[in-house]
């Protein structure tokens, strides 16, 4: 009789555990990130137009309250001697590359977050501190971030950076597409200051049209490749260039969405908690069967 009630108990526990996790599953997967609109805002960077004045670096720092030298200092071109990457001291940087066909016309390439359509950092973030906004911006929430740096592992462009020198409250820093400015109908700081219109702000679809038009009009000036049109599922920021992008230090990327199969695997393993719950039930069943089997056998000791 005792055995009977235990058996029922196990059964009930298993079933209720399955129901419980099943119910909470709906909540977990409902808490997805806001997805961008079908046609987010973007920026087209024309590296053949950029003159390397680095005014955008200054404007960016001003807009984000980062310490900066006076704007006149940015005329000093010795900054181009070393290849630089964005970090907490500068969310965007310009690098200069030699133009093999025209020595006097080097290519200057602005680097910042690409604001992917399907960002790996957003998918990776353990607490959902990275979010893709409707206007295309990928932004970071300091109130949630725990500083695990998984976004940095995930980013195909190696953009997010971390304040390693801080023992307390280190930030993840990266370009936020001037989210606070665009909210108030202002242009991104770098776009606003650019004296040569090397960066154009607009709807992503319009920018793509513009880019294609430029390539058609000046086929000798451009490579027939818009970086960011298809790379990692498309990005809000896109580039035009006069030489191959890997020579301008862009990583070679496939057209697969940045998070890759990672999300599919996660959802496969969990798919509304059915696989874990089934495993639980299966193990419970095995435990119960083996217990009964060893009960029915005479004690060997």
């Amino acid at each position: 009789m005792k055995n009977q009630s235990r058996r029922d108990f196990l059964k009930i526990t298993t079933i209720s555990a399955t129901a419980l996790v099943g119910a909470s599953a709906t909540k977990l997967f409902a808490s997805g990130n806001p997805t961008s609109s079908i046609d987010p805002m973007g920026v087209l960077v024309d590296t053949t137009v950029c003159i390397g004045c680095r005014k955008c670096e200054w404007a960016c720092k001003k807009a984000h309250n980062i310490d900066t030298k006076p704007i006149e200092d940015y005329d000093n071109r010795s900054a181009f001697e070393n290849y630089r990457r964005p970090d907490h001291t500068s969310l965007t940087v310009v690098n200069e590359f030699r133009n093999p066909t025209a020595e006097s016309k080097p290519y200057d390439v602005k680097v910042q977050c690409m604001h992917c359509n399907e960002p790996a950092c957003v998918s990776a973030c353990i607490v959902g501190a990275m979010t893709k906004q409707e206007n295309g911006s990928v932004i970071w929430d300091t109130d949630k971030c725990i500083g695990c740096r998984f976004c940095m592992v995930a980013c195909p462009f190696q953009i997010p950076t971390f304040e390693y020198h801080k023992a307390l409250q280190p930030d993840i820093t990266k370009c936020d597409f001037c989210f606070e400015r665009t909210k108030e109908a202002l242009l991104p700081a770098c776009v606003e200051i650019c004296p040569v219109e090397a960066v154009t702000y607009g709807k992503r679809s319009e920018l793509l049209k513009l880019a294609k038009k430029r390539i058609n009009l000046y086929p000798e000036r451009y490579k027939e490749h818009i970086l960011g049109e298809h790379e990692v599922g498309g990005t809000s920021w896109m580039y035009l260039a006069g030489m191959d992008f890997d020579k301008l230090k862009f990583p070679k990327l496939s057209t697969k969405a940045a998070p890759g199969v990672s999300e599919a695997i996660q959802h496969g393993i969990f798919s509304y908690f059915v696989p874990p719950a089934s495993l639980f039930a299966l193990l419970g069943g095995i435990m119960w069967l083996n217990k009964n089997k060893s009960k029915s056998e005479p004690d060997t000791e």
């Binding site: 058996r7 555990a17 808490s31 997805g32 990130n33 290849y83 790996a120 957003v122 998918s123 990776a124 973030c125 353990i126 607490v127 959902g128 501190a129 949630k144 725990i146 500083g147 695990c148 740096r149 998984f150 940095m152 592992v153 995930a154 195909p156 462009f157 190696q158 950076t161 304040e163 390693y164 020198h165 801080k166 023992a167 280190p170 230090k249 990583p251 990327l253 697969k256 940045a258 998070p259 890759g260 199969v261 990672s262 999300e263 695997i265 996660q266 959802h267 393993i269 874990p276 495993l279 639980f280 193990l283 419970g284 095995i286 435990m287 119960w288 083996n290 217990k291 060893s294 000791e301």
Partner: protein, 413 residues
């Protein structure tokens, strides 16, 4: 007739070896303090190109894998109900308990805002493999502590002896322990099954972690079946870890090695290792990643050492009957498997990861290595302390009434 019963070990805690280990632990702790005062950058070689180092790759990913013995032996003894393995369940449980505790500690010192670690509990991102790992590890750690409780109650029931004025509480505490013990024994099966399910989930999700790094990962390790490989290798390293420790503690406490159980465990090793080797090789073949083995590079060397020394060689050893009968040979074979999984985790998290803008390779700093070694040393010290305080390791005993005590609580009777 004498039977094997878990008993607290009675030895002097400090031996020359233990003192050396203590020094390692202290050095590690010093660097941990340094990290809290001066930040991660001051202690580690991590930077914006290499955001994760050995604190994640080894302390967490490897540490959790090596703690897999906890759930594999629990499954074997309690779910498949093979009673002969009862003697290894408690040492394996203690290893898992300490392993996970220190994996959690490593995460806490690796994340920049360690005081926000609880955010993972309230801000959920179901798409993130790291979230899955975090939640499962926290839950499993709780389960492990609950599974260890019966060992605590067993130690203190009838032995509660508080000094002075507190002695008035002796009876109450003893009663409380007995009630706790009885309640636990009724519900323990739920925790045992939960523990196995949680383990399967996060052992595999640890593999999913690096998949999102995409093209930054070398194709020899970047594969969509990484989670499967991680799960299979974790299950595969669980028993070697148990054997490895069993041989060491039998030396340390001058006990006879449990040859019979070690032999039975080792019989399961060839299929476990074989499955891993087959999945790994077929995956490499299908994705045509073998082209990278034709070139002589650090990557191909690391891969070869991982697969041949760490998996194929121990497979060959475990297949031999002489090896399975000799504790010394089993120790060597088990060490090789542990080395293999060490290499596998190190390679996926460190060797394979090549960020696009680094013209240098990451190598752990003195501080990182000291902390990793320090945590291992602390685990060894705590393990030694625990087996001296609590009945974990089984020794031959004459007690007659022992049979009921011996039966592990929580299985349906």
């Amino acid at each position: 007739m004498s039977i094997l019963l878990p008993k607290p070990m009675k030895y002097k805690f400090f031996t020359p070896g233990v003192i050396v280990i203590t020094i390692f632990a202290l050095v590690g702790i010093a660097f941990v303090l340094g990290r809290f005062v001066f930040g991660i950058g001051a202690i580690t070689n991590l930077d914006n190109q290499y955001p994760w180092g050995i604190w994640i790759g080894l302390d967490v990913a490897l540490g959790v894998a090596l703690a897999a013995g906890g759930f594999t032996t629990a499954a074997l003894a309690h779910i498949f109900h093979k009673e002969e393995y009862e003697t290894i369940v408690r040492p394996a449980l203690l290893t898992a308990l300490l392993g996970y505790t220190f994996a959690a500690a490593s995460v806490s010192i690796d994340i920049g805002r360690w005081y926000y670690i609880w955010h993972a509990l309230i801000y959920w991102n179901g798409n993130s493999a790291l979230f899955e790992v975090g939640i499962c590890v926290m839950m499993y750690l709780t389960v492990l502590y609950i599974e260890f409780l019966p060992i605590v109650t067993e130690r203190f029931i009838g032995h509660v002896n508080l000094p002075g004025i507190l002695s008035k509480l002796n009876n109450v505490i003893d009663k409380g322990l007995r009630i706790l013990d009885r309640t636990l024994s009724k519900f323990m099966f739920v925790f045992i099954i939960t523990g196995v399910v949680l383990s399967c989930l996060h052992q595999s999700s640890l593999g999913t972690l690096m998949i999102i790094a995409g093209d930054k990962m070398h194709p020899l390790w970047q594969t969509p079946i990484l989670p499967l490989l991680y799960l299979v290798s974790a299950i595969g390293v669980g028993f070697p870890m148990v054997m490895f420790e069993s041989v060491i503690s039998s030396r340390a406490f001058r006990l006879k090695p449990e040859t019979h159980i070690l032999e039975k465990l080792s019989e399961m090793m060839p299929p476990l290792l074989g499955v891993f080797i087959i999945i790994r090789s077929v995956d490499i073949l299908i994705r045509e990643a073998y082209v990278y083995l034709a070139e002589f590079s650090s990557v191909s060397i690391m891969f070869s050492i991982e697969l041949i020394v760490g998996f194929v060689l121990p497979l060959r050893l475990f297949m031999s009957k002489e090896v399975r009968k000799s504790p010394n040979m089993l120790f060597i074979a088990s060490s090789l498997v542990i080395f293999g999984v060490f290499m596998n985790r190190f390679n996926t998290f460190i060797t394979a990861y090549t960020p696009p803008y680094a013209d240098y390779s990451y190598f752990p700093s003195i501080g990182e290595i000291s902390v990793t070694l320090g945590f291992v040393a602390l685990e060894v010290l705590l393990y030694r302390a625990f087996v001296m305080i609590f009945p974990v390791i089984s020794v031959p005993t004459e007690e007659k009434s022992a049979k009921t005590k011996y039966a592990i609580r929580g299985i349906l009777r």
